[in-house]
């Protein structure tokens, strides 16, 4: 008889917390600990890391059982939305200083539009123009945020 993972989601979450706790504990043990009366920089984070390790282990342990029903897995995460959203945001931040808010907003809208499999090209084009105009009107002129509008 072997131990089975009944709940993959919890197993993964537990392992994640466990590793965060271990990492935090490991890093903070390199800081001066001090004592209970005069706590050093490492005291509180080490404490938190230790409790996180305990909790992560408990969550992981709970997901392993000898008997019982398996919790069905969900479908695998889709990479396209995450990749497109991330790329759109990074592109925006790279473009704003040189090319200005107008162009950066258009790029942001178009790239983030790729996150969906059903592309509505014309709608996206209109949306990007509306958002660019809105962003410039509200944030640059209305609120006076120091963002360049046009290419420098």
């Amino acid at each position: 008889m072997k131990l089975r993972i009944l709940n993959r989601r919890d197993a993964f979450a537990g392992a994640l917390f466990l590793s965060f706790g271990l990492a935090a504990g490991f890093v903070s043990s390199s800081y001066p600990l001090g004592n209970a009366m005069r706590m050093g920089a490492g005291y509180f984070p080490l404490l938190l890391g230790a409790v996180l390790v305990l909790l992560g282990s408990a969550i992981l342990w709970r997901s392993l059982r000898l008997y019982g029903e398996r919790v069905p897995d969900e479908e695998a995460p889709a990479l396209r939305p995450a990749a497109c959203v991330g790329a759109a945001v990074v592109a925006f931040a790279l473009l704003v200083p040189q090319l200005g808010l107008l162009i950066a907003t258009v790029v942001l809208t178009l790239v983030s539009g790729l996150a969906r499999s059903d592309l509505h090209v014309r709608e996206l084009a209109v949306l990007s123009a509306v958002l660019a105009a809105f962003g410039v009107a509200v944030f640059s002129y209305g609120l006076g945020l120091p963002l360049p509008v046009l290419p420098a």
Partner: protein, 501 residues
């Protein structure tokens, strides 16, 4: 009358043309965004935060508070019309509110929600104004040990109320506390968890975390899920907006009870809008002569919880304003906003910035009045907004997040960090780890460490100080009681039922 004097100061500050305008803009924008399905108050406030950067502090806080009640009210509208609660406090409104909408009485449900909320908001404003000064005096008696114990209580209460798994919620809180410690340690000057990156020396920006997790993370998750699920169709006919005489007769007692429950429960650490609305629904169901009406469109099931959630939303400002302690994720956002404007929340704000303190309180009543004026005639507009497809919305949300994060420091690093937290937030949602406790922990982390250190220094390293000081002991006993409540199987079962509905 000190109360009248304070209110006078408040209204003098809140009733200037510009502040009324900001309050109006806040409630309108808040309702506008909050009514969009799946966007709760935390996400709404996070994404609208950049709009307030350029404003003077009083105006900014008035506007943010307005956004909060607007979002809350918008969430209830979405709950009633399409059965999609934007956040947990309007979960119970779905039950009878949506049933009323199906019976063609959506207008009456929205109307009684608006009127009940306005009444509750008025009472809660008065309670805050009356309680603020004495509570601030009490807060000044709090030593570091009491503050630490209060934060423990608040975090545990937040965990009990988090949806889903308690162990995971505690783990998320701890992770939040750890993230809050990133940066230079104020006591020793030691850089912690910065991995040699100078951009992290001041800590992770609070805007980066909240927009990453609640903005980007949610968007990625929604985009993924949308492929499988088609959207529910909004109801077209709303019907008569003003409730009938019979509706009022049925509703006035639930409104009174809901207001009382919401006001009291909102003050508790970890409380806020949700606790009140759940309790109110249960009370109304128990007191009703004919319980079978509940779930099929009983107006009491809308009037009570809606009044309670509005009262609770407002009184949850009390711990923030008088002690500088946020009791839930929304208040954690408010504290972050205050710090962006250079205000350190705490008992001293009332004395140092009376126009800001009392102005904010007075604006709560003005905001509620504006909401009433805004909502009843504009219900048709909100209904149409509900039909806007998500593919048009998320690029706009992304734009707000980008401008919000980028314009704080013009830093590419912050934007990259936000993307990182976006992926992490998506991962947490997939793993069914509620992110709200993480945000609360993040804000409380540095305060908790500071108070723990001071308490232990004063007691010369004796940890029993937390149990020998009576106030601190009381707070810890309350926290312990909550832990016991979580563990007891019968109560745990009720809690699960409550969240499943």
């Amino acid at each position: 009358m000190e109360l009248l004097e304070h209110l006078q100061v408040g209204f003098a500050s809140a009733l200037t043309w510009s502040n009324v305008l900001y309050c109006f803009a806040g409630v309108t924008l808040g309702t506008l965004v909050g009514v969009l399905p799946g966007i709760g108050p935390v996400a709404t406030i996070a994404m609208l935060l950049p709009i307030t950067y350029g404003l003077p502090p009083t105006a900014a806080l008035i506007m943010l508070a307005g956004i909060y009640y607007g979002a809350q009210y918008g969430g209830s509208t979405a709950a009633i019309l399409v059965n999609l609660p934007g956040e947990s406090s309007s979960l119970v409104t779905c039950i009878d509110g949506h049933a009323m909408a199906k019976n063609g009485r959506a207008g009456a449900a929205l109307g009684i929600a608006a009127i009940g909320s306005f009444f509750a908001g008025t009472v809660a404003t008065l309670v805050i104004a009356a309680a603020a000064a004495p509570l601030a005096e009490l807060a000044l008696k709090f030593g570091p040990a009491e503050y630490f114990s209060l934060m423990v209580l608040g975090l545990i209460a937040a965990v009990v109320l988090a949806q889903g798994d308690i162990l995971k919620a505690v783990a998320m809180t701890l992770l939040g506390l750890l993230l809050g410690l990133v940066g230079i340690d104020v006591n020793s000057g030691e850089e912690r968890f910065t991995f040699g990156m100078p951009q992290l020396a001041d800590g992770i920006s609070f805007v980066v975390i909240s927009m990453g997790i609640f903005g980007l993370g949610e968007i990625i998750y929604n985009l993924e899920r949308e492929r499988q699920k088609s959207r529910e169709v909004a109801i077209r006919g709303v019907g008569r907006v003003l409730p009938t005489r019979e509706d009022y007769a049925r509703s006035w007692k639930p409104v009174l009870r809901g207001t009382t429950l919401g006001t009291v429960l909102g003050v508790l650490p970890g409380g806020g809008a949700m606790l009140g609305s759940f309790t109110s629904y249960m009370v109304e169901k128990r007191l009703a002569r004919d319980r079978s009406r509940f779930g099929k469109g009983a107006i009491e099931g809308v009037a009570g919880p809606e009044s309670a959630n509005n009262a609770g939303a407002q009184t949850s400002f009390i711990p923030l304003l008088v002690m500088g302690l946020p009791s839930n994720a929304v208040m954690a956002l408010m504290i972050g906003a205050m710090m962006i404007h250079g205000i350190v929340p705490g008992p001293q704000v009332m004395g140092e910035r009376p126009e800001l303190f009392w102005g904010l309180i007075a604006s709560m009543w003005i905001g509620n009045a504006l909401l009433l004026l805004l909502n009843l005639p504009l219900i048709g507009v909100w209904v149409r907004l509900l039909a806007v497809p998500y593919r048009m919305l998320y690029p706009a949300i992304l734009l707000l997040c980008c401008i919000g994060v980028f314009s704080v420091n013009n830093s590419l690093f912050d934007v990259l960090l936000m993307v990182g937290f976006g992926f992490l937030g998506y991962l947490f949602i997939r793993l069914r780890c509620e992110p709200a406790p993480l945000l609360l922990g993040f804000v409380l982390g540095p305060m908790m460490e500071e108070n723990l250190r001071r308490a232990m220094l004063l007691s010369r390293g004796d940890a029993t100080v937390f149990f020998t000081r009576p106030l601190s002991l009381t707070l810890l006993l309350m926290a312990l009681a909550l832990v016991l409540v979580m563990v007891l199987p019968s109560i745990r079962a009720t809690r699960e039922v409550a969240f499943q509905d």
